[in-house]
């Protein structure tokens, strides 16, 4: 579960980073094209992850987790 969080949070921050790099004039053409491809993939992934997400609710009872309806 923690991996999923990392992926989403990391994806968003990577996307921000790519966005900045693409605005940076120092970034070369080859690098820019690679970054752009990576960014488009990431953006699609983040979009669908969030669009498909459903809230998960569990109740903590003492030390037992119970599904809450």
């Amino acid at each position: 579960m923690s991996a999923k969080k990392k992926t989403f949070e990391d994806s968003i921050s990577r996307l921000k980073e790519i966005s900045d790099l693409l605005e940076d004039e120092e970034t070369g053409l080859d690098e820019s094209i690679k970054l752009y491809e990576e960014g488009v993939k990431l953006a699609k992934k983040c979009y669908s992850t969030l669009a498909d997400a459903e809230l998960k609710i569990k109740e903590l009872k003492a030390d037992i987790e119970k599904d809450f309806e």
């Binding site: 969080k5 752009y36 488009v40 953006a43 983040c46 969030l50 459903e54 109740e59």
Partner: protein, 397 residues
């Protein structure tokens, strides 16, 4: 002897007199209501309470047993003015009397407010509210722990806020009573329980609006301390906007309401979608302009003097080459033509030489219609005829 026995009859043991006092007092003072200020309050680990009630001129010891004090919504504080209900009891081992308190209430709402201020001042001076201890709330929580009543409207509101804003999140709900007896203890326990887990990114404690009495659990010292000691970032959202609780001050972030707490704990997916769309738009524009920029650079290089000079060198060389090839071709053709002529002339000469030789020997060629007649049967006596001798031609007919 008489004196002695007389004396003996009037002598009471400590136990006897205490017993008499006990009976007298306990039958005279029951069902009392006493108002006074609490001092020396002690909550024993057994669950019983011991304190003194006092006013300007007097004081009286009080006890409140666990079974009775568990029904009180607030924890008494020194200085708090309360009204207690109970009986006077005598405790023979100590020879003192005390109030056996059955119920307790604050002597007016102002007392709670005063208690609130006292605790706030105390904890503030201890540094529990200092900014330097405030932990940062994570931007993208994976799992949120919630301490509230699971069947409350506040909980439902929080869930609906979360599903609208960030449905990627998971909740672990430690359902608690949020008002009345035992609420503060349950909230405290649940904060500690959630904090002991590794997977909780942020904890929200809260409840909906109510009177100061309803919200009191969040003004209890044990709750404030649990909030302060919590290693997981904690957001407090208690009551309405105007309600401040001690827990709010101790929390890493204070939200005016439970739903506001959820808003502070979750990113807004509309913003994330906006960011993603923005990214797609601006980054596409950026990459297009980057490519165009490089295209332009390449174009500039190609049309630079160096490239053009090189090109014209090639072109003039090519032209020279073409000229040379043309000239070679031309002269070769002329040469061939010339030799062909010579050859032709020689050939004619050669042929003519052969016929001449034969004619000189006395032969004659007969010609009709400009053709040499080679056979007698082809000769036509009526036609014009030419006779070719080696020296001349003569016409006959």
């Amino acid at each position: 002897m008489d004196l002695f026995s007389q004396y003996e009859e009037s002598v009471l043991t400590v136990s006897e007199i205490t017993d008499s006092v006990k009976k007298l007092i306990e039958s005279s003072f029951s069902g009392l209501k006493i108002v006074g200020e609490i001092s020396n309050f002690k909550a024993h680990f057994s669950g019983h309470w011991y304190f003194t009630l006092k006013d300007a001129n007097a004081q009286i010891s009080c006890t409140m047993w666990k079974g009775n004090n568990s029904r009180i919504f607030f924890t008494p504080q020194d200085g708090m003015k309360v009204i207690v209900n109970g009986n006077i009891t005598v405790y023979p081992p100590r020879g003192n009397y005390q109030v056996d308190v059955k119920t307790m209430s604050v002597a007016g709402e102002g007392e709670l407010q005063a208690a609130f201020e006292r605790l706030k001042k105390k904890l503030s001076s201890e540094g529990l509210f200092d900014d330097e201890y405030k932990k940062e709330i994570p931007e993208f929580p994976n799992k949120i722990g919630i301490v509230t009543a699971i069947d409350s409207a506040a909980f439902k509101d929080m869930i609906s806020v979360a599903s609208r804003r960030f449905p990627l999140v998971e909740f672990l709900v430690a359902s608690s009573r949020v008002q009345g007896e035992g609420a503060a203890e349950e909230i405290t326990k649940n904060i500690q329980l959630l904090d002991s887990r590794e997977d909780i990114d942020v904890i929200i404690i809260g409840r909906g609006g109510g009177s100061l009495e309803d919200l009191w659990a969040f003004n209890e010292e044990i709750v404030a301390r649990a909030v302060f000691d919590c290693n997981t970032p904690i957001i407090s959202g208690v009551g309405h906007e105007i309600d401040f609780s001690i827990a709010d001050f101790a929390a890493d972030l204070r939200a005016p309401t439970p739903t506001a707490a959820m808003e502070l704990a979750t990113p807004d997916q509309a913003e994330i979608f906006g960011f993603i769309n923005d990214f797609s738009y601006t980054s596409t524009n950026n990459i297009i302009s980057i490519i165009n920029y490089h295209k332009e650079s390449v174009g500039n290089i190609i049309s630079s003097y160096g490239f053009r000079a090189y090109d014209s060198v090639i072109k003039s060389k090519a032209q020279n080459l073409d000229n040379i090839i043309y000239r070679i071709q031309k002269s070769t053709e002329q040469l061939i033509d010339k030799y062909n002529n010579v050859l032709e002339q020689n050939k004619n000469l050669l042929e003519s030489h052969n016929v001449e030789k034969i004619l000189k020997k006395g032969f004659v060629l007969v010609k009709q219609d400009e053709k040499y007649i080679l056979r007698a049967k082809n000769f036509d006596k009526d036609k014009k005829t030419k006779l070719k001798f080696h020296d001349n031609e003569i016409k006959i007919n």
